[in-house]
Symmetry: D2
Subunit: 270 residues, 4 copies
């Protein structure tokens, strides 16, 4: 399945400001790209790319005062399969985890493992470890939290989601991640393009957040917001939580005034 | 100046548990070591070392139920000078910062930059950027927060310190780090051995926390708790905040029942 | 000036629920009423009125499952003057305050005086006590907080407003009240109808929140949201914060599906 | 059973300060007093008493700079029975509650009903209403929270207790009160003298906090900290939470430097 991926963002910038953008397709998906994945700025500004400590490709630039347009467009050859499910995947005892995975057991800004560990133990501690327990966490969060765009706010944490029971996709994932970590299950936050539940893709694709869990020696996709296997998930970035992988991080004021994700299934070329 | 460094920790462990220990001398100080820096466990258990994404050397092992003793002892040749002060050190605009430094501008568990950015701007935003502004942040935190061991708690954040105005060394640093980051000044949390204010060292050395700030192309030590240049600071680990560099992190119950830091100036050997 | 006051609320109620409504004109304004101030329910249900410990008139009833309509309509003879300003009004030392006023110096759910007292002292502690200092608090809150309906949430406290700097009218008043109390200035939360800034009233009247401060032996209106003297303010209820004077408090689920405030200046009758 | 009750508090006061003290025996227990219940101040200062909106007797005075001693001493004829238990006491539906009881269903500073209502419903919503459910709440809190004096802090709320699972007596009651209110069970905070579990009293009596729940048309004592019926409980004050009934509230600095509760069973006089 070929998927065209793209975005157009517009900012009004009152004074020169440095910006990081995490809008590239993730390096792990680069082998499937059929077109280059470059970011265009208008006005044209030099972009420097680097790889952060989580392995994400980050674009970095400094924008002058005025209107800034950011866009990108590429084509990916996607397997066209829904998120894999391996119901018998095992949790690893901590001593078996690779070193680099351990950091995904710790506290982070929006995932206060320390404040929700007793609750996690009470709700899920008695369950058989493994895929089923992670799925139970997703089910709980999915069923207990009510979605609403007006419930978004930048400083909202997993504990806030636990007490308020309302949120947007990032909030669902933060709470589920926190529960996993409290049970010593490595979990990390992921952003990317999210497709539909069947072929052909009918839903408009959009940016979304999900999370990944380390079971059976690898990372698996879970999504406490949607909670059904989806097609056309294309990863952009992973990190400890939304702080690490914000679509854009500006070190000063940059007001988002336009936002469009332009993606859809593309007929295979002959 | 030769400094003997060491520690003895004791835990009571009810059931097998994986533990990370960040008690080694930091790799940056290894060239000064005159004796090997190894960790001893009693009972003897295999220890695996690794380097985390911040460059710290971490010990990793799994302890059985029972009493566990952890100890280490080494000797370091320390320059014997107090924390350097470079009053004319400049802040870098964000665009000049190395890629790897950028993560120390972001939110972390105990440093809610998002919730204290307006306050930081009001208190320090008008000041001339540079060393003096960072020192002003340290002065403010040092003068406004009252020290007390009974004010420690694991989940205490920079915002809590800002509102409660009481704390221990980690709390002072978390608040100062948060103010720095809110002003786009990279700041990271540091742990290690802390010595005295003059030679010969008379104060018993102890583990402590301080923080580092990136100015003029390098990291500098600041300490909002003590707020005077000190001697005999030997770094163990750096990270975004206390979550990243806990002395020990146990993935299960391990009750600390004994704790001794055994360090002192040692007469130079002939 | 004659003002017609009224409201129509509609709820969908899944199961029998007890409700308190604080929608009557406050007893202190009853002498000016030219028509009775009664609440009508559809379906018709028995309403019991009582006076709470703050002196507010509260309606109490139990609604069955189904649609519930609540409405009221009355006419008040309003002095037609803007909020009084007495720039030389004095703060009282605590020992002079009447007993009943002391509770408006304490913490309450949305006004965490304990967590903002250091900040209040730093921002306003140095100012000359009296009306001017209260006005300075209103100016600060008015200028620092950005209004937006989407920033409302039920659990938002003064500390949240202080850190997030966004909110709706209740949020402005909670922060200003908290600063006042921290300085030993009695302050209480008020709800009611809010009119325009001049005659004839052109703005549609609406429910709003403001606060009252005890100076010179009486309570005075302040409004950190609008921060200009207004006409046609008709008090409904006062309390420690929004918890005490919610328009309606339902002890179970009652989904608000319609809300209209129907008020306007009425031509004087001959 | 005759119980001698008394206290001695000492403060160091840097500058003139107004103080409220809630150390009298509660009016409901005055009929049992065999000696007058007066407060003595050294230096001798005029004390004004008043009754607050919760029905407590409050002492009010203004202390000059210097050392202040507060003491009281009285004798009460106590029934000598343990806290009554009525296992078949019923919860009232909200519509049956007296008006004055309704305020004990609402949010207060340390009891964030809004943030813990979902948790309360999940933990206890399925249980049969009545005494047994309130006892289940006490059991849960008693078993899940670990006591420790060093876990006390002035700004700690029920949500903090829920997440940290450590605390002192006030913390236990705040969490239990919050759960009750979330289930529409009126609950209020109480302070007073607390005796032993048997006769003769062997434990030194001390000030303590407990809470009261409205069942079967009256208020009943519950104590999530001790969670066994006790003897010699003598009420001093009731309120929404600890904010309303602090032993002393000073509107300025007053450092507590001495504190003794001097109470014991007294041999009956012939």
């Amino acid at each position: 399945m070929l998927i065209r991926l793209g975005y157009e963002l517009q900012f009004e910038i009152p004074a020169k400001v440095s910006i990081l953008a995490m809008l590239y397709v993730h390096p792990s998906r680069v082998p499937g790209l059929l077109e280059p994945d470059e970011m265009a700025l208008d006005p044209a500004l030099p972009i420097e790319d680097y790889t952060d400590s989580f392995g994400n490709r980050v674009a970095r630039f400094t924008a002058p005062a005025g209107t800034l347009r950011l866009s990108g467009n590429t084509l990916i050859d996607d397997p066209g399969t829904t998120d894999p499910v391996k119901a018998d995947a095992k949790e690893h005892p901590v001593e078996e985890l690779p070193h680099g995975v351990l950091k995904f057991l710790l506290n982070s800004r929006y995932c206060e493992v320390d404040r929700l560990s007793a609750t996690a133990a009470e709700l899920f501690g008695w369950m058989t470890p493994g895929w089923g327990r992670v799925q139970a966490i997703c089910d709980w969060v999915h069923n207990k939290v009510t979605f609403g765009y007006h419930h978004a706010r930048p400083s909202k944490t997993a504990l806030d989601v636990y007490t308020e029971r309302v949120g947007v996709c990032r909030d669902y994932q933060h709470l589920a991640i926190t529960f996993c970590r409290a049970l010593n299950i490595p979990a990390r936050y992921a952003t990317g393009y999210l497709g539909d539940i069947g072929v052909p893709l009918r839903l408009p694709m959009d940016f979304s957040a999900w999370f990944e869990v380390y079971l059976d020696g690898q990372w698996w996709v879970f999504d406490a917001r949607n909670n059904v296997p989806r097609l056309g998930r294309v990863l952009m970035a992973v990190g400890r939580d939304a702080s690490d992988v914000a679509m854009t991080t500006s070190f000063g004021i940059a007001n988002l005034t336009g936002f469009k994700v332009v993606s859809e299934e593309e007929a295979a070329r002959i």
